[in-house]
């Protein structure tokens, strides 16, 4: 039986198509209280006073909490963020107070009655400004902050939260052997995650001290650990429940609302409190996607072989660091893209500004730095007068080359990027020409991008799995990944069905995660489900198989070596007619006289990624992830040269996925990634006033790609197995987004002759560039 590479009905399908799927907000209880947060209306300043006296008198208000009541610092890498602002405000929308009331409406009403007086300070509106010598300091005592990891340390007296360095080869030598050099600067704006389900969390503290959290989170186990750490609670007393999550895109990996909910419940003697962010508040207050300022210089010789590259990345972490230092690290280790650059220097800094703070976003910064890199490469290819696809093929990384952090590349750990470009060439019909005049003053143009990405888990990221039996021989697969829309658990069930050679429909999964009844799974992030959870599932399957064989060997009176399993039976390899069903041995083996021997079979498995290390401080040597996923992408557009409006006609991805598990789901997740990439390239962005006040904090003004504006999506696969991964499959769920902004803007640049250095590119932006060129 081969069930891989076949389409299966994902396990959440019926729940979702019927509307029976329940999300955090769907669970109401009668005695629940409701909380709303009060947020700052300035981006940088001191709090002179917070007057809650009028709000407290409003009927139905139970309690109002401010930063003075909970002096706790939070953070996943650096503890730099007060749960509620204490004395100082660092971004527009920062939580200042929580109102707890009998209804949501009363809580909301009360927030408007709280009077806050501020003393404004000058705001820092970009990471480039933030590292200027005379820039105001956003965190005065950053060196006193506690770091939870040893490679992230804020630099005192600066706005730098962390810094990573790559030094490989000799860039001076490299640039002197370069005939063509391109230097470019980029500035990319922050944007929103925009999951369909807004952020929401319920918290309750029971009489025995049990803290119950129900939340829309990608990181239930981290919520548990961090709450224990911040509030000095015994970790076992905290139970985190996560039902279905309506999209996260990284935004729900940050532990944020859970902290405020806990504070709220604690303030009302542990009563159950629900804290919801409105969509508008979600925009201004919740962690968002990073911004990025980049300086990049790449040189190539007359044959178009890259000789050297020098890069500086400034990650706009916003007011607090959260996971941004790791994003600056992720950029550093992958800064070359899937290309071999022997002489390489890269500084990747994580910098505080007065924007809302950043957290993981689909692509973990790769969608940002790849834009800068691939735009520069396109320009360099033009300068070398080499077809951009050919240029990328010439420089494609291959086995025996070394990554920026000096990990040796192999087919197993990095797949085959050249093959991806070859396939893409046909898929997007590259040879018809990159720029074609199609009449009516319109141009059809194509643009390209390569991508690669390695995950950045901590060295102890682990996963655990339990497999139990039902008495009819069917299985329950228990695993702690959160169903955020990617059908991750369904694909794990598919892997298990393949391993046990049985019907996928006879494997049941629990979509909810409960940290007390399910073994720890690090976080549902970094596209790691198939690898990190997959390895644990296969490990548990091995354990299950051993036990099944043990029980069966008694029944079949043979050694375990003679046995194999399939179709819910254990059978003798040389004579499959001698067999016994799972159902007859799963709970021990029953003799005709009623005696039972053996034991209930429970499969147990776990996995920790090996050989993950920190980077050497002087040259960045080290290994942060176990493998790369590579791919090649293209976008085709039609531009009207009179009005500068354009239509996106095609978007294509060829990804080396190792092994396709479920073709339809995989394809649609990659299409979803491309759709988000188009959104970033064409419309999505946070717009701020010079004082860092967010202007577009509603869906009327924050633009997203709509259904009906989507191009034709083309997806194809290369399958170079990753030897240490389940069935050779590679991470893929984030990756559809990564190269699309670059490919799209490369197409627009080809069509217009303008070398754009930011996104989004709207028709007005093109008009501006044209106008500036004419003047």
């Amino acid at each position: 039986m081969d069930i891989l590479e076949k389409n299966v009905v994902r396990k959440d399908a019926w729940d979702k198509v019927t509307g029976q799927a329940k999300y955090t907000g769907d669970f109401y209880s009668n005695n629940m209280l409701f909380a709303r947060i009060v947020t700052s209306t300035i981006s940088h300043g001191n709090i002179k006073s917070i007057d809650t006296s009028i709000a407290e008198k409003l009927e139905g208000v139970k309690k109002i909490i401010t930063g003075q009541d909970v002096q706790v610092l939070c953070g996943v890498l650096i503890k730099d963020r007060p749960a509620l602002a204490i004395n100082k405000i660092r971004y527009y929308g920062e939580p200042l107070a929580i109102v707890i009331a009998t209804t949501e409406a009363i809580a909301e009403d009360a927030t408007k009655l709280i009077k806050i007086q501020y003393e404004k300070l000058p705001s820092i509106s970009s990471p480039t400004n933030s590292i200027l010598p005379d820039a105001p300091i956003i965190h005065e005592n950053s060196s006193n902050y506690i770091s939870l990891v040893n490679d992230v340390k804020p630099i005192n007296g600066t706005n730098i939260a962390s810094s990573f360095k790559i030094r490989k080869g000799d860039i001076n030598k490299g640039f002197s052997s370069s005939k063509y050099i391109v230097s470019k600067s980029f500035s990319l704006p922050k944007s929103a995650h925009m999951a369909t389900e807004i952020r929401i969390c319920d918290a309750e503290i029971k009489a025995d001290g049990t803290v119950k959290i129900t939340t829309s989170s990608q990181s239930p186990f981290t919520v548990k650990k961090l709450l224990a750490n911040y509030f000095d609670i015994e970790e076992g007393k905290i139970v985190v429940n996560v039902p279905y999550v309506g999209g996260g895109f990284g935004g729900k990996s940050a532990v944020f609302l859970e902290i405020l909910s806990y504070i709220a419940s604690n303030a009302v003697n542990g009563k159950k409190v629900r804290l919801t962010l409105s969509r508008e508040q979600d925009f201004v207050t919740a962690p968002s996607r990073l911004g990025l300022d980049t300086e990049i210089k790449i040189g190539a010789n007359s044959d178009g072989i890259i000789q050297a590259a020098e890069m500086r990345f400034l990650v706009d972490s916003g007011a607090y660091s959260d996971i941004s230092p790791n994003m600056s690290k992720a950029i550093a280790v992958d800064c070359s893209g899937p290309y071999n650059i022997e002489n390489l220097s890269c500084d990747s800094l994580c910098v505080y500004t007065n924007h809302g703070y950043s957290t993981a976003y689909r692509g973990f910064a790769h969608e940002s730095y790849t834009f800068c890199l691939e735009r520069t490469i396109d320009e360099l290819a033009k300068k070398c007068n080499i077809d951009p696809l050919q240029f990328r093929l010439k420089n494609a990384i291959k086995p025996g080359d070394f990554s920026p952090s000096q990990v040796e590349i192999s087919l197993s750990n990095a797949g085959n990027i050249s093959l991806c470009f070859e396939k893409l060439k046909k898929l997007i019909n590259w040879d018809e020409g990159q720029k074609i005049n199609i009449g009516n003053n319109k141009i059809r143009a194509k643009g390209l991008s390569g991508f690669w990405k390695t995950p950045n888990p901590p060295s102890n990221a682990s996963s655990g799995t339990i497999i139990t039996f039902n008495s009819d021989g069917s299985l329950n697969l228990i695993v702690g990944t959160v169903e955020i829309g990617t059908a991750g658990k369904s694909q794990l069930a598919q892997m298990l069905a393949q391993k046990l050679n049985m019907d996928y429909n006879r494997i049941y999964i629990t979509q909810d995660v409960n940290t007390r009844s399910i073994p720890e799974y690090w976080k549902t992030v970094a596209s790691l489900t198939s690898y990190l959870a997959g390895r644990a599932v296969l490990n548990a399957a091995d354990d299950l198989i051993n036990q099944l064989k043990e029980n069966a060997s008694i029944a079949l009176r043979c050694t375990v070596d003679d046995l194999d399993i399939g179709e819910e039976k254990v059978y003798m390899k040389h004579n499959p007619k001698f067999c016994i069903g799972f159902k007859d041995i799963a709970f021990g083996l029953k003799y005709p006289d009623g005696n039972v021997v053996g034991k209930q079979i429970i499969g147990r498995g776990s996995f920790i990624i090996n050989h993950i290390s920190t980077l050497a401080e002087d040259n960045g040597k080290g290994k942060v992830g176990h493998s790369w996923t590579v791919g090649a992408q293209a976008v085709e557009i039609e531009l009207d040269l009179t009005e500068y409006t354009y239509r996106i006609t095609k978007a294509a991805t060829v990804i080396d996925i190792g092994k396709v598990i479920d073709p339809k789901t995989t394809t649609s997740i990659i299409k979803g990634g491309m759709s988000m990439g188009i959104g970033l390239a064409t419309r999505e962005q946070y717009l701020y006033t010079p004082d860092c006040v967010l202007l577009n904090s509603s869906l009327r003004t924050y633009k997203m790609l709509h259904i009906g504006q989507e191009p034709e999506y083309l997806v194809d696969f290369v399958e170079t197995p990753q030897i240490d991964a389940p069935y050779g499959t590679r991470a893929y769920t984030e990756h559809g987004i990564i190269g699309i902004p670059a490919a799209l803007v490369n197409a627009l640049s080809t069509a217009t002759g303008k070398e754009f250095s930011t996104i989004p590119i709207t028709p007005e932006k093109i008009w501006e560039w044209e106008k500036n060129d004419t003047n």
Binding site: E104, A105, E108, S278, E280, R700, H706, E764
Partner: protein, 272 residues
Amino acid sequence: MIPINFDYYLPNTTQEALLAYTNITQNNKTAIYYSGGSEVISMCRTGSIKPDAIIDLKNIPECQELKIAENNLLIGSCVTLTKLKSSKLFPLMGTTVGRIADHTNQTRITVGGNVCGTIIYKESVLPLLLTDATVNTYSIEGNKSVSIHEIFNKRVNLKPSVFITSFLVDTKFCNTKYFHIKKTANEKIDYPLITVCTLNFEGKIRIAFSGLCEFPFRSLDIEETLNDINLSKNTKLDIILSQIPGKILDNLDGSADYRMFVLRNTLDKIIS
């Protein structure tokens, strides 16, 4: 969530609606007439309005009519954009309202609401301005009929106690040649950078704009320029650009300069 409490009235007649309004306001409370409610929801959410009561007009028969009677097309103020569009009774109006918001909202937004609301674009009013429509209102003075030009200048100028029951459009306008061009920043469904409606009547072009200024307008001066057969295309364009009756809108959707660029391209198309 609408975080405020308010009273909800659902009158069945114009008289009941007015009575409700009078009673509420006499007690020093605020009331607003509405029909679709999409704007009421978003304004209440953001705290821009806090009405004590809202009076829903959609059960009033006069406000729901959509028919041709004695050479007039009668459009009730509570007719939804979807209903108007799918009736195909007035193609220019159908096309125009069919580009306001997305389908879900079009099933809720009404013609009267769009014309009277706080939204600055009010694209529904453009065909009404071009056809010199008649507006039927109800107030303490009973039923009244006035020209759209009398009550609409930049926005509807009616006392809050007065409400529109319907619009009347002479059917002679309903099937003449027209143009509708809507330009947005990037989206199919969005606020306009510019929406232009034109109507050919008795050999002359009539033209109205939304999105160009902070208010929708029809300009007789621009029409005169457009219809002047002695002017070349480029001269016409230059003159028209100087005849815009207000400051060019400059907002997140598009800068004023860019709007002028889009306007010029759009007019170029219309004149050609």
